[in-house]
């Protein structure tokens, strides 16, 4: 399960145009070669699934998804 405040990097094949990027209003975007890299923080797992569902719904091809979580010293 992702912990709150985790950073995500999502690589998608192809250069996303303005319309497709508007599907990910909370994420920053960057074009690298023939790929689009989305970065941003996602609140919880349902936000992550929401982004994945958008990618799928738009017929985009997901190459990679990475999660970077800040160290959490309040482990239960």
């Amino acid at each position: 399960m992702p912990t709150p405040g985790c950073q995500y990097t999502i690589r998608i094949r192809g250069r996303l145009g303005a319309t497709a990027l508007s599907a990910f209003p909370t994420m920053g975007s960057e074009i690298r070669g023939g790929e689009t890299v989305l970065t941003g923080s996602l609140e919880d797992s349902s936000a992550v699934y929401g982004v994945l569902a958008q990618i799928e719904a738009l017929g985009l091809e997901l190459i990679e998804l990475r999660q970077f979580c800040p160290p959490n010293d309040r482990e239960p």
Binding site: G17, T19, A20, E56
Partner: protein, 857 residues
């Protein structure tokens, strides 16, 4: 074809097109039931109703037994119904479920899994989904019964790509076709989009060059291209109509702001341009999800300021056409949470009556987190959802919020909101068994409805029907039978008039209570069950009161086997979280049945359970007194007189005469060997009255107990007189149960050599007490060729006795010749040759056992 076919491939792979093309190959022996799961379907019942609808449209199945919408959804029963419909279908039925990935109800998925595991031989199922459906198929896979199609199987090959281009009259150089194939990797949606853009393109090869040279995400690129190639008015229509999940020409015209959109939609579907019609008449359409998602993004990007207004227009249209879930969804999309909350609150009952709690719950989740605080009318919807799930405490707290908000509701809406709140409050109080509160609320409701209800009948009739139903139910349980009768009849009539059969059945299920006459109650009970069965609701909890009441009637008249069958059906339909008021009824009838059969230990257990269920109700249940009486009687029979007295002390109240308690005290004395004490408790038995709403059993029971006491005191004349009086009191309804419960065989024996005016009844009672169960009627077996006339029935009653023909003639004050004529006629109609056969036939046909009631069919 394998039993199950799974098509699992990403969006735009051509799954739906493949299925639709294949579905056209309908033959007489193979019919296709096609359904698409709508977006984000969380409601199991809605899913299954769509399945049922698809099956119904194949015309392969007699649809009278297929289920309809209901507030309480029983998934297993639904699967059974679908299963038996498929099993009975003429020829092979292929059930095609498209877009299965949109089904997010775990219940529905596991029900579907169950259906697949028990699929009838002649049925086939095709599942189409973007992902492998979360359904275990390994058993079927091992049996070689699963065919699977994946993205690779659906991909266009290079030569198919060339065929597609040729068929679309697009001339491309060989290199161009190859480049197009390479770039799209045979992705069906990509090729289709490319074809749409290429049709009529002035320089197709240049398009392919640019397309191949770009790094833009292929789907987005092609969608944008496709949209740009459309005439301006088509672009505008596509963008503006994308706010609706589904649309017809009228709605599209409204959103696009121009007429004639239906032609545009038809043309787009014909051009294979990601527009899909939803019905055979092609009046409803939806956009392919790839297109819909793209259009919504593009709309938000380019025409953001119009989005709320378009949603409002769609919401208004849906609301006007009774599509409340869609209306609320679009209102929410417009960001108009107060309006959405009002809309939801105003139509809540209608939604729950259609069994859409799942959709209501989903809509509630779409409100922002703070909405509950800002929009107190949502509390009503929350309360309904919680109540439907049996979470009574949560429902109560939501309802309290709804009530505290009521005064701030504008007067125009306050009336109906008050009725809605009061009805929910009633349902909650009823369900929690707080009859005291219910009675209070009944009064309040009567007041709040008196001034404003007459004008609500048109627009808010379903609220009124629900209110009447709840009123009638609590009035039944609290013994206000005249009011219950009035309200339930009115509720059922209204429900029928406004096409709410579920409420009609629920009202009628409570009208089998024998507060009228046994014959009327029996007829009503069977009618309620028949009505429910016509709608496929024969196994619904709402029928439990009808089954319980009918079972009690059969036990009263000594038809224990039939009573047991009906009682079992009653227990079968109730759910584990059974309404305690209904549980009291079923436990009491269980106790009656055991008591009548002399199984006093089992009777004691059942009646103890009844007392326990009763204790969950804070108000007095109408059955409370007989629970006390019969529990004490069972304890007395088992030699536990102190327990029996304790039972009576627990139940006794001072508020009115408790003949039932006196009867039990007499029974205890009798069991303790104190017949004089028993007679003292009975006093003047002639005015013993049953609790209101019961058959006239108290006098029968009092005379039986008095007779047994006299017999114990060796006063045979007094005993015989009491026995005759018991039979006289029992005759009208043939109340055999009291004789069975107190084992009155010895008492009745002293009558057998004396004159009695109730010989037929006496014979039946004696037979029952000797353990000679009356013969069972076999279903569909012989019926009298002609019904017996009333005077023949009167003579028939004497046939089981040892009276001679002259004696019968004397009893009936007719001539012997008349009796002979009647007997010849009876033999003829029953196909009997002698008195013994005639009596046996008459018993099997229940001509003797039904009392004065007409024989039921």
């Amino acid at each position: 074809m394998k039993k199950v076919t799974v098509i699992s491939a990403p969006p735009g792979s051509g799954k739906t097109s493949l299925l639709r093309a294949w579905s056209y190959h309908v033959t007489k022996d193979r019919r296709i039931a096609f359904m698409s799961v709508p977006r984000d379907q969380r409601d199991a019942q809605q899913f299954w109703l769509a399945v049922v609808d698809a099956i119904r449209q194949t015309d392969a199945i007699d649809d009278s037994r297929l289920p309809a919408a209901a507030p309480v959804f029983d998934g297993d029963a639904m699967v059974d119904a679908v299963h038996s419909a498929l099993a009975k279908a003429a020829g092979v039925v292929v059930l095609v479920i498209d877009d299965l990935h949109e089904l997010t109800s775990a219940d529905a998925l596991s029900q579907l899994e169950h259906l697949l595991s028990v699929l009838p031989t002649a049925a086939r199922v095709v599942l189409s989904s973007r992902r492998d459906p979360p359904i275990r198929l390994h058993q079927l896979r091992l049996a070689g019964e699963v065919a699977e199609l994946r993205a690779d199987d659906l991909r266009f090959t290079a030569s198919e790509t060339r065929d597609l281009l040729a068929a679309s009259r697009i001339s491309l150089a060989e290199a161009g076709a190859a480049a197009l194939y390479e770039r799209t990797e045979g992705w069906a949606a990509g090729l289709r989009l490319a074809v749409i853009s290429l049709s009529g393109h002035p320089d197709p090869d240049r398009f392919v060059d640019e397309f191949s040279g770009t790094d833009r995400a292929i789907g987005e690129y092609l969608m944008a291209e496709m949209l740009e190639r459309q005439p301006v008015e088509v672009q505008s229509m596509l963008l503006r109509t994308s706010v609706a999940d589904r649309l017809n020409g009228e709605l599209a015209d409204l959103l696009a702001g121009r007429p004639g959109c239906d032609r545009t939609l038809l043309a787009l579907e014909d051009a294979n341009a990601f527009v899909v019609s939803l019905d055979a008449q092609r009046t409803w359409f939806r956009y392919h999800q790839l297109l819909a998602d793209f259009l919504r993004l593009e709309l938000r990007r380019t025409l953001a300021e119009e989005v709320p207004d378009l949603n409002r227009k769609a919401a208004g249209w849906f609301a006007d056409h009774g599509e409340i879930v869609e209306a609320v969804r679009n209102t929410l999309a417009a960001g108009d949470w107060p309006d959405a909350a009002e809309l939801l609150a105003d139509h809540l009952f209608s939604l729950t009556l259609d069994g859409q709690e799942g959709s209501v719950a989903a809509l509630l989740r779409s409100f922002p987190a703070r909405a509950a605080a800002e929009h107190p009318e949502l509390a009503l919807a929350h309360a309904a959802v919680q109540l439907a799930h049996g979470r009574l405490d949560e429902a109560a707290s939501q309802l309290t919020q709804a009530e505290s908000h009521l005064q701030s509701v504008p007067p125009a809406r306050r009336g109906r909101r008050a009725v809605a709140t009061a009805s929910l409050r009633l349902a909650l109080a009823r369900r929690s068994g707080r009859f005291g509160d219910v009675v209070e609320q009944v009064k309040e409701l009567d007041m709040s409805t008196a001034d404003g209800l007459s004008d609500l009948i048109g627009s808010e009739s379903e609220l009124r029907a629900v209110a009447l139903m709840n009123l009638g139910i609590v009035e039944t349980w609290s013994g206000h039978f005249a009011d219950a009768e009035r309200h339930l009849t009115e509720g059922a009539t209204l429900a029928e008039a406004i096409g709410r059969p579920y409420i009609e059945v629920a009202c009628r299920a409570y009208q089998a209570w024998p507060s009228v006459s046994l014959a009327t109650a029996r007829r009503r009970g069977h009618e309620a069950i028949a009505l429910a069965e016509r709608h496929g609701w024969g196994d619904r909890p709402m029928l439990a009161p009808a089954f319980g009441a009918l079972a009690s009637i059969e036990v009263w008249v000594g038809e224990f086997a039939e009573g047991e069958r009906l009682l079992q059906r009653g227990w079968d339909v109730v759910q584990p979280d059974v309404d305690p008021a209904v549980a009291v009824l079923l436990h009491v009838v269980t106790g009656m049945l055991h008591g009548g059969r002399g199984e006093h230990q089992s009777a004691l257990e059942a009646l103890t359970a009844a007392e326990r269920a009763q204790s969950l109700l804070s108000g007095a249940h109408i059955l409370g007194r007989v629970v006390a009486e019969w529990l004490a009687a069972a304890q007395a029979h088992l030699g536990l007189p102190d327990d029996a007295r304790a039972t009576l002390d627990r139940f006794s109240t001072d508020d009115d005469r408790m003949d039932a308690i006196s009867l039990a005290r007499a029974a205890i004395s009798l069991a303790e060997g104190d017949p004089a004490g028993a007679l003292a408790f009975l006093g003047d038995v002639r005015d013993f009255m049953p609790p209101q709403g019961f058959p006239a059993y108290a006098l029968v029971e009092a005379q039986v107990l008095a007779g047994l006491a006299h017999l114990a005191l060796s006063d045979r004349d007094a005993a015989a007189a009491a026995a005759e009086a018991a039979l006289a009191a029992a005759e009208a309804d043939r109340l055999i149960f009291p004789f069975a419960m107190y084992k009155a065989g010895g008492l009745l024996d002293i009558l057998s050599r004396r004159q009695t005016a109730h010989s037929a009844l006496l014979a039946d009672v004696v037979d029952l007490l000797r353990g000679e169960a009356m013969p069972r009627i076999e279903r569909g077996r012989r019926t009298p060729t002609e019904e017996l006339s009333p005077s023949e029935l009167r003579v028939l009653r004497f046939l089981p006795t040892n009276l001679t023909r002259p004696e019968i003639a004397q009893s009936l004050n007719v001539s012997v010749n008349t009796v002979n004529t009647h007997i010849r006629s009876i033999y003829g109609k029953l196909g009997a040759t002698d008195r013994g056969t005639a009596v046996r036939q008459a018993r099997e046909l229940r001509l003797l056992a039904l009392g004065r009631a007409a024989p039921s069919k």
